[in-house]
Amino acid sequence: MNWDTLYILRQEILLTVLILIQLIGDLSEDEKRSRIIHVTLSSFLLFTLVGFLPGEPASLFGGMYVSDDLRTLLKNILSISTLIILLQSSSWLQQPSNQTKIGAFYLSLFSTLMGMYFMIAAGNFLMLYLGLELATLPLTLLAAFDKQLRRSAEAGVKLLMSSAVSSAILLFGLSLIYGVYGTFYFTELSVLNDSSYLSILALIFFISGLAFKLSLVPFHLWTADVYEGAPLSVTSYFSVVSKGAALFTLMLVLFRVFALQHATWTLALYILAISTMTVGNLFALRQKNMKRFLAFSSITQAGFMMLGFMNVGSLGMTTLVYFMLIYALSNLAIFGVLSMVSNATGKESMDDFNGFYKTNPGLSLIMLVSLFSLAGIPPVAGFFGKFFLFTAAASSGMYILVLIAVLNATISLYYYLLVVKAMFINTNDTPIPTLHTTSYEKAAFVLCLMGIAGIGFMSSLYDYIQGLM
């Protein structure tokens, strides 16, 4: 243990410090509680910046913990997203009824983030599993955080029970992997190849656990219910950070550890991609509640992500990371608007957004751009993300899959336009009043919009990500 080790672990250590600050902050008197928000936000900003410091590739704790530029980038994507969510949730936490929640909220949130860090940094399935649980268990508590609401309690218990079963299946898969290969270390596993049926079974069980977190069909059924029941900030955390961590982990494990077994997992993900895109779309079409709508939209998007796995090379990984970044920013912008509306009026239905443009032109334009990005319309970034995913799948000759994906992208366009229509065209006798945007929220929107507008054209970013593979 020396200074180098501490430097490599800087993000995890700082996160632990942030958690401890919350423990201390929670002791303070009730009137001063909301100050913690400002302290936390500024220290989290610092923490995010620290992640961008250059670092050397390293492997600590005998290979349990791995750090390299790619993993640091992935963590940074997660922390930027979390930063945006924290900025957006500040006004929600400042409401008098939520004052008591602040400490526990931040503490749980940071521990899940820490769990996701370990999922990404894991060099061993033990760490990966531990990270997964650390990322999931406090999240179930967060889902149940609106204590006065029945639906929140329901969301928490639904998430916990189903994720417990999914992680049990994942564990069963891991135990079989252990039986076949005799090790949990990624470095040792990556050179072993076993094409027996048992290893395929084990791999499927393992993938299903992460597919559950990614909410791929048919492992998605919890998604909409939990998204609807959980507080909005937590929902946006689910749909962006939690999903991102699962995607990155799946990506790292499949591309780096099970690269030799790629025939198995591309086929499995091929099937999942088709079912996910289609079912997600069909459900999204009929949703009237914005949170459920976004839940199914994010399921569909996860289906699109699977296209990146079809190219077993740097192209596939690059497009996945690139797409996830764009998806995160677009989704966060929408959730930002949604949480502002929900905080001010408690409205969450699509019909409530009728006439939104009349009263809140700025916010509706933000929504418009973000929805276009999710729908994949040029020149906003979402288009490039999708196009690269299609390219990745097409480069492996999977044209049928691309065809289905493109068809689904067109269907998804339809329901994204429904929201646009509600905001810009439909009239409303009781429209949502003009909302005040706090400076934290403004900062969050600026971050999102810069990304949505710019990332598509930043070929240097693409090249940078490609260079990391």
């Binding site: 639904k158 079963v165 564990l171």
Partner: protein, 107 residues
């Protein structure tokens, strides 16, 4: 004692597989949230048998399976505690722990 000679590894695996899916049945058919939790515990224990058995029979040169089982136990404890908290929370809101009645979020 030398178990390998007496009881083949496959016995252990059959045992754990049966236990795993019995646990799953418990999760799927019992409508009380607490009994569902018990089913989950059974599943986790089945996995632990696997870990320990593989460690003992196949790879006794390292303790990987053993430590994994240890961690799984710790996590199972945390999971159970959280589950109980959430179940009590449900009980307060819904006055029942019957999972069929907890279905306000749907479609």
């Amino acid at each position: 004692m030398n178990l390998q000679a007496e009881i083949p590894l496959h016995y252990m695996i059959v045992l754990s597989t049966l236990l795993f899916f019995i646990g799953l049945v418990g999760v799927l058919i019992r409508r009380n949230l607490i009994t569902m939790l018990m089913g989950i515990e059974l599943m986790l224990n089945a996995v632990n048998i696997n870990f320990v058995a593989f460690n003992h029979y196949l790879y006794p040169h390292r303790f990987e399976g053993h430590f994994f089982a240890l961690i799984v136990m710790a996590i199972a404890a945390a999971e159970a505690a959280i589950a109980i908290a959430l179940i009590i929370n449900i009980y307060r809101k819904f006055s029942t722990v019957n999972v069929d009645d907890v279905d306000e979020l749907k479609y």
